[in-house]
Symmetry: D2
Subunit: 328 residues, 4 copies
């Protein structure tokens, strides 16, 4: 028989993403709505082990819905990967009378959560927060939509200078080992070519494509490269290769870097975070555990954490065709 | 037996929306990809009647994917509502050897298209372009996602001044007679109350809600009002009513107005527009007609135009509950 | 002989403006740098009278440099206009051992400060914070540069829809009774006409100008109207007048409203605020009083408060000529 | 005796900068205003040598005031550095009946212009367009203000993730061999340390400063590094050095890159460009030559081109002190 939940802990872990604060706010306020206590756990599993807790009420999360980053901070914890680390964490949670956990993060975060749940039967709900959109069980992770806009705006700026100078730009974007961001911003920014880990274009076809683009009268070109792509060892080597084999272009490289993770969340991410927080808390109150809250076909839905971790988030290969057609 | 399509006309009609240019670009380039001619029709049905046409190729649509508005201009045409008007339009299309039409717009645009199709058996595909998201058969109309971000950013700015002065703001947002924009930006901007046509809150409950919000320690409040809402006759009368019955707040009104229609489209709208343009052209080439291209469950799908026009785009009432919980 | 200053109060008053938080941060940190205590006074003179004070140190102002609004809140105080009000304020300041005051605001704020200084010989420094740029003794008030960008971006969005529909837009912008904002955004947004209080164009010349613009082939027009302009009684009456006398255009009105006051400050405003805060505190420590810190010829300079209040901030009439040339 | 000018050529050269299009527009429209012909010269001196000219009228520059980059394209020309190259250029200008030149660019652009003027007595006016603000004779070059905002917004985003993870970020910003951008964005973004070529902080003082910042309770730090700074050989080596000597921080590097050059110009840059274009054309019409149009003490003023090139644009060292105070 399951016990009644009276105090929920909320934390963020792994890489931060826009919308995490909106999710924290939603968890805290949903607790308040149901007259449940809520405790913020700082710096992910690291803070859990150290007992770095702070009670939170509806006022604590005022004015954060539109802020990037995470007010609870985030960290990657090696200690939590050890049995002792998790034991300490459990003791700290118990001492603080925390009955259940909402953990906001990605793969690594959920893997840790599952192990912890298995060892201590501790009720857990996951909320997918990462700009990479690499989680199974949700069409959108928190921060992904915002990152798409951030990247597209940055590429628009680079396009200004590229087309003023007849240059070829290789732009490396985030996404770990999946191509969601690269593929969407590539289409959205009108990139001439998109290199993603899911499809090995090959260096020869890249050169061919660039030559065709040049021949068709385009004076500048943008190639979006996913950080996980392995066509060249990295984007700088890619530049060297192309410069060696094509003299038609001046080649430049831009690695967009960490600015992709920040910024005020888009309306979509704020709304999604609000919906997910409500569902996470209410699912715990219904004694569900070990699920991730996701968005499937525009509806909030639960996926078992192990499926979320093991499953593969498929990219939309239709977009590669759309990109090909757009750049013909 | 259907004839083979060799020249497609593309036009925008009704209120403009961000993403229309990206859709035009996609239609033009998909035609080029399939070696079909493409013709831009200026100022919607008005320009069709006047024969205001311009051949477009892949280069014609260079650099417009990230521009708001529509390079083909838009208009509302009274002449096209007459039999003669449509007859002239048909003659002009025939003279220009245009075989089929992609029309980008909303309800009114599609209604005109259907009548025209019935009268002249002219192949037509619709693409939903309006910030209001009031079209059945698609979860998102072009421009809607962009408008949500535009509005949320504007409300964030107003929040700065509202919270500096302990004020109550009524903010009127667009959406014609549906509450999609109001509901989503209300949640996304953390509005204390959201007034939409789909739910009559009633003036008494509004006052009660504002009093509760004040009592809970909030020093400022944002109320988002859909332009189609009829709780007060308009947002200024609403202000007067509240000021009469509550002296706790200084009340201000902001009508966001036409800036909501403009701006560079979000990545989502650019990608959606690109996908829709491909589907519209390729569906015509497959001799389909009288459909609207939409997004359903994240996939591009066709809906018969008459269903798109007659059907009702449902708002997500779950969001009203989320909003209630967030503002408790 | 002047006494040594050990504790400075800082406050914001009047309409809020982007950069006020950056100025507060600068005042607080400059106090910390000089080992002086600093106290935040909430809600302007109103909070001063109520003794609504809070000690602030370098950590208190963390993360606010890029936030719009004012963390100290603002208000307009009628009580402070009375002798008793100011007496109470003086008592509260004395009880809290506050030796000197940095007051951030506009005309009204400085007038109050001067009277208070005369009555109680209380050391005061003013920092000009208002988007209207209507203060003598500084080329830029805090928030003005940010507001120019906010407004220009909004007009760019409206231009998208105006040019898609061949419309004429009257856009009312802030500025109280001066035309700084209108004149600069008018030039910056490429407005066809700019109506400011400093120059009475006259309705006839406006019509003539619009007709010339139409005749020259322009299909859409933007007219920027300063809120203080009196050519028509207001922007809606202006619309009615033009529609009555010109049928060439569909006319629309947009009142940009309070969003002009908010938003993250521009780099210029953040840097200016930082410089002004340092100068305000260090001037008090040098026993200067009754000055406003301003920017003159790119340098930080002091102006006596009475001159700042009485003087007239001249607009740059050269810009009207530039606008005329640009729209020929 | 000077001849009357009837046709002016306008070009952009060197690195592109936001505001260049606004300046082109202003030159073209001022010519139209004075009934002078205007010719656009493409790709800087390279296009001049090739005779890549296009007549421009008021309509040609419609809708470009808010666009980044340059519609006339830009390039660096080696051929123009040769006597023959300049001879060909002169012939092409003469053949096209171009009497005078407005050249928009930086140091290199102006140096070329002066040599050309000396050799052929060809009337020339320069407009400073570069984000680096490294030109003597103007307080602001075109694009500088916009770049400051672009960079500050990017650093704000990085701050989100830095403070969520307690990280130290080295952020490399543009500016060639001067520290204007670094210094201003460093203050504007609240950087803990600013490394500019004009002041050699030294690696020891940097470490000391970072340790002090950490000790004062700051959990994250931003160090802004001008690309021209030579404290470390480059920003990656700087990272390595600090990681070797401090274990308190996780260190990350972000090189903002070419996005700093793009984007829609700020209101300030649009207005400045408009003013400069008017002055450039009207000065040529007054038979002035060999000057650069600049902004000095908020007024448009001319500086001889050789002074503009030889003079040194001084950075505001007061800002380094302000930065020190802000980060105490």
């Amino acid at each position: 028989m399951s016990k009644s939940i009276k105090k929920i802990g909320v934390m963020t872990s792994g890489g931060d993403a826009p919308g995490m604060n909106a999710a924290i706010r939603s968890v805290v306020r949903t607790c308040a709505f149901h007259n449940i206590e809520c405790v913020g756990i700082y710096r992910g599993y690291e803070g859990m082990i150290e007992g770095d807790f702070k009670p939170m009420n509806a006022r604590s999360v005022k004015g954060i819905i539109n802020k990037g980053g995470t007010v609870l901070k985030s960290a990657r914890s090696k200690t939590f990967m050890t049995k002792e680390g998790r034991k300490t964490a459990y003791q700290k949670l118990t001492e603080a009378n925390i009955d259940a956990l909402v953990t906001i993060g990605g793969d690594g975060t959920f893997t840790g959560a599952m192990v912890f749940n298995q060892e201590y039967d501790f009720p857990i709900m996951g909320i997918p927060g990462t700009i990479d959109n690499d989680i199974f069980g949700t069409s959108h992770t928190l921060g992904y939509d915002t990152a798409l806009n951030t990247v597209v705006e940055a590429i628009d700026k680079i396009r200004d200078t590229a087309s003023s100078h007849n240059r070829l730009f290789f732009i490396e974007v985030m996404g770990r080992d999946v191509g969601h961001i690269a593929l969407n911003v590539g289409v959205g920014a009108g990139a001439e070519e998109i290199l993603i880990p899911e499809e090995d274009l090959g260096l020869d076809r890249l050169l061919e494509s660039l030559r065709r683009s040049k021949a068709s009268g385009k004076s500048s070109s943008i190639v979006v490269v996913a950080e996980g792509d392995k066509i060249g060892k990295n984007v700088f080597e890619l530049k060297d290769y192309v410069e060696e084999h094509m003299t038609e272009y001046e080649v430049r490289v831009s690695v967009l870097g960490h600015m992709q993770r920040g910024g005020s969340p888009s309306c979509f991410d704020r709304v999604l975070a609000s919906r997910m927080g409500v569902k996470a808390v209410e699912s715990l109150l219904e004694n569900k555990t070990n699920f991730m809250v996701g968005l499937l076909h525009d509806k909030i839905a639960l996926t078992p954490l192990d499926k979320a971790v093991k499953g593969k988030s498929e990219i939309n290969m239709e977009l590669l065709r759309v990109s090909d057609i757009m750049t013909t």
